[in-house]
Amino acid sequence: QQPVQSPQAVILREGEDAVINCSSSKALYSVHWYRQKHGEAPVFLMILLKGGEQKGHDKISASFNEKKQQSSLYLTASQLSYSGTYFCGTGRGTTSGTYKYIFGTGTRLKVLA
């Protein structure tokens, strides 16, 4: 039920690009991306609500392909500060009428100088 992320881990040099993929066997109604730096709380990066939507800030952007039930996070010209674990999340309805976020398996990204 959890979205599956790939790759599990990636090592880059500063200035290189990376793509992190998030795939779900169930329909994706929204996709959230979070980053967790070592020893810190996960922090919200962005949300995509509609199929075909693309978003970005700074040199991090994401796309959402609703039909393929997948999302991708693009990190361009990576910086040391991009190091951390990236999670995708998706919303699911609950029996109480609210919704919960189910998160993916995570991708560890390390940027080397």
Binding site: Y29, T98, K100
Partner: protein
């Protein structure tokens, strides 16, 4: 800024002990969540609460219970800790607007080791 705090950053307990993990948020959020984080498995939802005294099971509730007596506080209880509950535990909170896009705010986590 939303602040989610967890009572301990590190905790070491013995098998069979009853363990309480506490989480407090200061933004009057209705929804609160407990996740566990394990390498290769990501974040998995244990329980969540959508209002005071209201709770719902997540994906891996076995061996855990929760309590929410006040809006700002959500406790995770391990009735009889076992070694396979050694993990990082993350609390999160979120306001309820009815829209699926609300941001979830996380605490820094509690690393629990059960010996």
């Amino acid at each position: 800024d939303v602040k989610v705090t967890q009572s301990s950053r590190y905790l070491v307990k013995r098998t069979g002990e009853k363990v309480f993990l506490e989480c407090v948020q200061d933004m009057d959020h209705e929804n609160m969540f407990w996740y566990r984080q394990d390498p290769g498995l990501g974040l998995r939802l244990i329980y969540f609460s959508y209002d005071v005294k209201m709770k719902e099971k997540g994906d891996i509730p076995e061996g855990y219970s929760v309590s929410r007596e006040k809006k700002e506080r959500f406790s995770l209880i391990l009735e009889s800790a076992s070694t396979n509950q050694t993990s990082m535990y993350l609390c999160a909170s979120r306001r309820t607007s009815g829209r699926i896009g609300d941001t979830q705010y996380f605490g820094p986590g509690t690393r629990l080791t059960v010996l």
